[in-house]
Assembly symmetry: C2
Homo-oligomer: 223 residues x 2
Amino acid sequence: MEAKLRPDALPLPTIRRYPVYLRAVRARRARGEANVSSAALAAELGLDPVLVRKDLAMSGVAGKPRVGHSSAALEAALEAALGWDNVSDAALVGAGSLGRALLGYRGFREQGLSIAVAFDGDPALDGLEIRGVRVRPMKDLVRLVRRLSLRLGILTVPEEAAQACADLLVAAGVRGIWNFAPVQLDIPPGVVVQNMDLAQSLAVLSHSLETAAIPSPARARRP
Amino acid sequence: MEAKLRPDALPLPTIRRYPVYLRAVRARRARGEANVSSAALAAELGLDPVLVRKDLAMSGVAGKPRVGHSSAALEAALEAALGWDNVSDAALVGAGSLGRALLGYRGFREQGLSIAVAFDGDPALDGLEIRGVRVRPMKDLVRLVRRLSLRLGILTVPEEAAQACADLLVAAGVRGIWNFAPVQLDIPPGVVVQNMDLAQSLAVLSHSLETAAIPSPARARRP
DNA sequence: TTCAATACGATATAAAAATATCGATATAAA
DNA sequence: TTTATATCGATATTTTTATATCGTATTGAA
């Protein structure tokens, strides 16, 4: 009868939770658990069981009562939903300290991401190899990105340079930009931008630090 | 009559947008603009004007028709709401590449944050000074953090070490933890955790890259 | 074989957030 | 002075997301 509850568009918050589920499922699978129950995941992650159940249901894999979901199937489905099943190569722009930190992050491979080449405006870095990735001058960006047909650009330059570099990436035919600069980029439609703003995250923290400052120390977050 | 619309708790999405507004307001003020209109901000940031207006209203500063809001007052109010008006010192745990990148980030001062001391388990780093911040061994963490009465901990260690380091920070009396490790920390109530998960951000990007792949190129994001 | 418990699936309700609409007010131009 | 308009403030509506509830299927134990 095939009556899967599968809306064509997954809710954004669900997408954001998928990597969290995926990590947990992978860990359990590595531990030899062939099946994962949504309730167990919810308990481990401190989330509402219903929420987890709904999220998993939207991945398309069915679960069996008293057993849970096949962890292998879940892992595959989550990866597919995220587009992490086939590794895609990216170009990193800005080989400063943040750029280098990203170059050194081993976890990207598990997230379908591999940095193929880096660019930097500083001539001193030209030709340098950082963690197995060669740094190229900016003037080669459009040509190289196009030749390697990279779909993704990672922007780790100072905010003054961000828009100009983004324009180069777009000119090179990139489909998405992961922007670490605290700037609202002006990008033509068709290219997806995801901002990674430290300030936004810090805002939530320091605000709740400010407000939840004095009150009673005994108060559970989740009942 | 004093009928300010001021809910005691600001919506989380509003909090997240505050740093974005703040940056824009600061830039305009630096350019000599004494007043900022919500409509202009909305246009600059690509947001809905009503949304911006509501967000700004919740900061408590009133705007005047045909003029806008006083940019000085707005800046102060936003900073106050975020708790960025008085700089607070933080402890950084994990002086690896990501930790160093954060140590090198100049923007933190504008966000009310200053890293006072760093810790790392690697004895080779003991005593090293990075960007003016001394690296200390882990065994000194609780004592030093307590003595400096630091309220905030920044966690940039590998995921295996994250929970143990978080426990140390909590033991040292920290009120909030900014967690860059991809782990769900188990933290007692009273201590606020804000996760900065690269994977979650990348998830949104690669998913929309995946879904919005083939369709028509001409499609505006905001009408 | 029967029964109880677990965990899923679906529906319903509630909460939160974004968007739309309308009226009021202060400023600048006529 | 008058009038038009930009812009705010408030209310209403819609959409999105989260939570609660109920029924049912499957398994493992009695």
